[in-house]
């Protein structure tokens, strides 16, 4: 992970490396920094200053986009602390071990639904069964969200206490949860698309 010339996003915003962020405070900092760096205020300046303003405000905008979203913020912090998922494609294609059983069941159910569809079952019935098939994954995702929130709070407490070893263990756990979460989100999106197609056919 190479850092920008302006330090990392947290440093740039004058924030500690914690996962909880006060949204309103973040927005205020963003507006203040925008007032400092925006190219609009450097029209009469030298070309070096103009370029610096362009670079800094780009960096600022990227940083704000990342920090305001809790999950993007978490992913960014993981990268900063050396806990990045190994490769982006790995996390989305390989089934995380903890989800193997659930995904296996879902695939069987989807196959059954496919047969049902080919057998000429009414589109509304197919859609309803697809909907039902989605339910367990959705509740699993909700459970993940809860765990992520809890671990984020733990992380911030450990940061506060200066418990480095504990923090690293928490970040490691968060990384694993995030990989699963991404997988679950993609899975749900896939099933939703199928449902959408069937719902459209039912109309």
């Amino acid at each position: 992970m190479t850092l920008g010339r302006h330090g990392d996003y947290f440093l740039f915003f004058g924030l500690p490396r914690r996962l909880a962020v006060n949204q309103q405070d973040l927005e205020q900092r963003f507006r203040a920094l925008s007032r400092q760096f925006h190219p609009d205020y450097f029209y009469n300046s030298s070309s070096t200053e103009r370029l610096a303003s362009l670079e800094r405000s780009s960096y600022l905008n990227d940083a704000f986009r990342t920090l305001r979203d809790p999950i993007e913020r978490l992913e960014y912090l993981l990268k900063l602390e050396g806990f990045a998922p190994k490769e982006a494609h790995e996390s989305s294609t390989q089934v995380p071990p903890a989800l193997l059983e659930e995904v296996f069941e879902l695939n069987e159910e989807l196959e059954a639904i496919q047969e049902m569809r080919e057998g000429g079952a009414p589109a509304a019935d197919v859609a309803a069964r697809l909907d039902a098939a989605r339910k367990p994954i959705e509740s699993n995702l909700a459970e993940h969200e809860r765990q992520v929130s809890a671990l984020m709070a733990t992380h911030d407490q450990q940061w506060h206490d200066g418990d480095l070893a504990g923090r690293h263990a928490t970040l490691e756990a968060l990384r694993a949860l995030l990989v699963e979460r991404t997988y679950l989100t993609n899975l749900i999106a896939t099933v939703r698309r199928e449902v959408g197609g069937d719902a459209a056919a039912a109309r």
């Binding site: 507006r31 925006h38 190219p39 009469n44 362009l54 780009s58 905008n61």
Partner: protein, 622 residues
């Protein structure tokens, strides 16, 4: 000190504004007109006419006159093939390249045509400064507005047009954002604001958050090919179906019909019915007349209005909001005068939209405010806009890899690593695209470039970082660096739908050659403009469905006769170059209609008191 102005370069009309004593004002021409019709006509001896004179020439010399050129900016022939048959001018160009417009024996690109419009606005502003006794009236810098949904090629074409007009374009800003800036001046409008901008040729919706003087755009959406022009075309097609008019055979007749349907469209914003009246039409003795009711009109334009609603919903969703979280809705653009548009917007957002600032002027006012911010360096207000479309590059299999996502606050940057596929490969081809679709072919091609000068190394070893930078204008630049050697690569992007710098330079020289100023001709145009204003105001009154009723009650038959005669005489004088006659007949008609004007004023007041519908009768300065 030379001057800086704000310019709204519109599809139908263009305006120029400045900040004077801390307030933005729109500058009028010598006849008092604030709107400059965005029409360019090529006269004899290569004289260029812009504005109302060019508008008149649409009827007399349609094949040498261009309107709605904004629809062609940064576009290819394949984009405009469907509508070009309704235009009187000939549009040509190779697929995947810049459109060309034939005017007489000249072949112009859209930035050149727009450049003529900008040059006229520059002249107008300089005349206004001179009239105030300014010793240095030169205007050499401008902020120019574009639809928020304009892509990179369309923005670049607009900037080129400015250069061709001798203007340094300090900034390109988005029209809805400019409008919001004008509204936000007084600090009264805070919170989440939706700007619905339906103009002559383009539609934009922007959702902004206004707080502490910072105008932050949260999301934007739109359609750069949707507006009042489309309404006009539906009405023209209606008349064509009635009369069997062939647009390709009778280009001048189509323009007469177009003028008539635009009048009827305007009337329908005030009245429940209006007549489309065309005096002469090929194959029809006694001309053409057809009554259109508001209900018929709304049935006709409903699909157009509906097409604006989906982008609104997407913009609200992209902002992470629901419609009820929008605090205020602002209407911009002439087409928002259509009652059905107002109704549908109100229904979507669940609140009455407002248009306290004239929707024709508000964008130019905002542009002037932004121009003032740039030159003064004052920091009370700041505009943070977004890029409307995602930016990406084509990867293996024709799939787009997105580098900067839509609705990212600009300036924004992103980078991508490239390497070589074979040993000692020294160049890589890169294709830049803009749009949301997954496949490269479905998106807008912005340009291609060859990354050269890669040091010869085994395949996969070079690490070339390509940096994409979108500046505050929403315009892209590209830089590349080989990280192992730290060598900066020079990149020249060949724009797919734009002009190269050399082409702009050459056009700049050519436009100087043809720049000529004829004082006599200009005076004649001014007199004609004034005459036309009186003509149109009188015709508009006579077209009112209740005119006969009013005349019977309040005017003598001698007065009505005098008005009709005065109108006919002035109309006849319009086709001559006789300045004295035009002046005299204008005065005569003005005198003949004096009592009528009073009567109309009283009638309106009484009708309003009686609770009858007179929806913003006065606010229409047409």
């Amino acid at each position: 000190m030379s001057k800086v102005v704000g310019i709204d370069l519109g599809t139908t009309n263009s305006l120029v504004a400045i900040v004077r004593d801390g307030r933005p004002v729109v500058l009028a021409d010598e006849s008092g007109d604030k709107l400059l019709p965005s029409i360019v006509s090529l006269g004899d001896l290569d004289t260029i006419y812009v504005g109302r004179e060019a508008q008149r020439r649409l009827l007399t010399d349609p094949s040498r006159t261009v309107y709605s050129v904004k629809r062609f900016m940064g576009r290819g022939i394949e984009d405009v093939a469907g509508e070009s048959r309704w235009f009187p001018f000939t549009v040509s160009g190779e697929a995947g390249g810049v459109v060309h417009i034939a005017l007489g024996d000249r072949d112009l690109t859209p930035p050149e045509v727009s450049g003529f419009i900008l040059r006229e606005l520059k002249r107008r502003a300089e005349a206004a400064f001179s009239a105030e006794g300014d010793f240095d009236p030169e205007v050499d810098r401008a902020v120019i507005t574009v639809p928020a949904y304009f892509n990179d090629a369309q923005r670049t074409a607009t900037r080129d047009a400015g250069r061709l007009a001798g203007l340094e374009v300090l900034r390109i800003i988005n029209e809805p954002t400019a409008a919001c800036l004008a509204y936000g001046l007084d600090q009264r409008h805070q919170g989440v604001i939706a700007v619905y901008d339906l103009g002559g040729g383009t539609f934009d919706i922007s959702i902004l958050k206004v707080e502490d003087g910072v105008f932050q755009v949260l999301s934007t959406n739109g359609d750069t090919h949707l507006g009042g022009d489309d309404v006009d075309r539906l009405l023209v097609e209606l008349v064509a179906a009635d009369t069997g008019l062939d647009p390709e055979q009778h280009r001048d007749a189509v323009q007469a019909v177009r003028k008539a349907v635009i009048q009827a469209k305007w009337d329908l914003s005030e009245f429940d019915a209006a007549d489309i009246v065309v005096d002469r039409l090929p194959g029809r003795d006694g001309g053409y007349r057809r009554r259109v009711t508001r209900a018929e009109f709304e049935a006709l334009v409903a699909p157009i209005v509906a097409r604006t609603l989906e982008p609104c919903r997407r913009a609200i969703e992209d902002a992470g909001l629901t419609a009820s979280q929008v605090d205020e809705v602002v209407l911009v653009g002439g087409s928002t005068r259509i009652p059905m548009v107002r109704r549908e917007v109100e229904r979507l957002f669940g609140k009455t939209p407002h248009s306290d600032i004239n929707p024709d002027e508000v964008v130019a006012l905002g542009a002037a405010v932004q121009a003032d911010i740039l030159v003064s360096g004052r920091r009370e207000m700041l505009l943070l806009d977004v890029t409307p479309l995602s930016l990406g590059i084509e990867t293996m299999g024709g799939i787009v890899s997105k580098i900067i996502l839509r609705n990212s606050t600009i300036p924004a940057s992103g980078s991508e690593m490239f390497t070589s596929f074979v040993d000692n490969q020294t160049a890589v081809d890169i294709h830049i695209l803009q749009g949301e679709r997954e496949m490269a072919v479905d998106n807008r091609s912005l340009g291609r470039f060859k990354l050269r000068g890669i040091p010869p190394m085994p395949a996969g070893l070079p690490r070339i970082q390509v940096r994409f930078q979108i500046d505050a204008n929403g315009i892209l630049s590209v830089h590349a660096r080989e990280l192992r050697t730290n060598i900066e690569q020079s990149i020249e992007v060949k724009p797919s739908y734009g002009l190269t710098d050399e082409e702009v330079e050459r056009m700049l020289i050519e436009s100087f050659e043809h720049a000529q100023e004829d004082v006599d001709a200009r005076m004649l145009i001014e007199i004609r403009n004034e005459a036309e204003t009186i003509l149109q105001a009188t015709e508009k009154t006579l077209r009112r469905p209740d005119f006969e009723e009013i005349a019977a009650a309040r005017l003598t038959s001698a007065e009505v006769t005098a008005i009709r005669e005065g109108l006919a005489e002035l109309a006849a004088a319009m086709s001559t170059a006789d300045r004295e006659a035009l002046r005299a007949k204008s005065q005569a008609l003005n005198d003949a209609t004096k009592h009528l004007a009073e009567v109309m004023m009283n009638w309106t007041v009484q009708a309003a008191l009686a609770g009858r519908t007179t929806a913003d009768v006065e606010s229409k300065g047409r």
